[in-house]
Amino acid sequence: MKANKQMTERSFNIDALVEDLAPVKPIKAMPTLLTLAAIAVVALFAISFMRDFRTDLLTGQPTAMFLMRAGMLALLGGATAFSVLAMAQPSVGKHNNSWQIAVAFAALFPLGGIIAIMTGDNTLAIASMASVYRCLGFSAITAFATAIPMVMSLRRGAPTNPERAGWLTGVAAGGMGAFAYSFYCPFDSLAYTGVWFTLSVAISAVAGRLIVPSLIRW
């Protein structure tokens, strides 16, 4: 009797869901990835026009540190964003671990920064606090802008690990924010990059972990 009642309730529920069905477009990661790339490009031009372009870029001869830093941050932001967007489409047994490789490579910068400081790199002492605030502030604004499309995609999807999605959204957004700022940042030292760029990404990651999960629960 109870089983019959349950079956009836479930049938009723299914009928209601069927009645409510409307065509849906499956989520695609590529449009969001392109949006993120566009935001990062707009942001890097915005800061460079507001302040100044790096002279090495204007002369077409970027320094090795600039290339390594920008490349690493692009890899960190892009690979982690890809993992975030994959989390919107869950599947048991499907693992997108590209973010782990990117984070492992990016960790070389803070390690290198510590070694550089210990071996006499004094850029941190030379750099003004105004430049540090500019670095952190501009990176944070860009990170916020890039986090919005990722959160929207996660809200539309079905992330099954909201805490990890929060961390990764923060890392991806922080990576892209720091990437955009690196086109203006006048400091090429490993100490400066290892400390302030890392802090910028770390702050964004913590903010992502604290803010994003409550926005994407379903």
Partner: protein, 174 residues
């Protein structure tokens, strides 16, 4: 009819295009699959409720299914999330109310095997797995569990508490 991956995937692709007949069949078959899936994981009287919750989630999150991928792993991910959610809510309100029933007619397929309760318990420390197995699966009281394991009452409670917390984290990371 026993659900199979290929037919469910075809039905889901039609459902995403708005085909109501296909969707009705899909939800019925998915409901059966979910009942077997949850039979290994929660008390029998909670299964129907959880199946309905999961079907509602499936309905709300239709666009999160990628038609180029298999259907059952997607359904299992949704089901697991709803299960963990239920686990957390019950655990928050009253840890002792949690109940894992052993399925009499268990359906163990590839997806199910990935998140089987035995395999998950195997990843917990022995003292936590043992008390969860005794209290939540075999249905022994705390005092009986104390007598069997030699742990004090407070230690049993702590181990159940910590074990369940770790269990939910393990399920999510699978």
């Amino acid at each position: 009819m026993k659900s199979n991956e290929e037919s469910l995937r075809g039905l889901m692709q039609l459902a995403q295009k708005g085909d109501k007949a296909a969707y009705s069949t899909l939800l019925t078959e998915a409901g059966r699959w979910l009942s077997r899936f949850y039979a290994q994981k929660i008390a029998a009287h909670e299964i129907d409720d959880l199946v309905q919750d999961t079907l509602m989630s499936v309905h709300r999150k239709l666009s999160s299914y990628d038609p180029s991928r298999p259907f059952l792993p997607w359904l299992a991910a949704i089901a697991r999330f709803r299960w963990v959610d239920r686990l957390r809510k019950t655990y928050k309100h009253e840890a002792s109310a949690l109940d894992f029933d052993v399925a009499e007619d268990g359906h163990e397929d590839v997806v199910g095997a990935k998140i089987s309760i035995d395999r998950l318990l195997g990843q917990l420390p022995e003292n936590q797995a043992e008390v969860i197995r005794l209290t939540k699966i075999e249905g022994h009281s705390v005092s009986e569990t104390c007598a069997r394991t030699g742990q004090s009452e407070s230690l049993v409670k702590v181990n159940v508490h910590r074990g369940l917390k770790k269990l939910s984290a393990l399920i999510e990371s699978e």
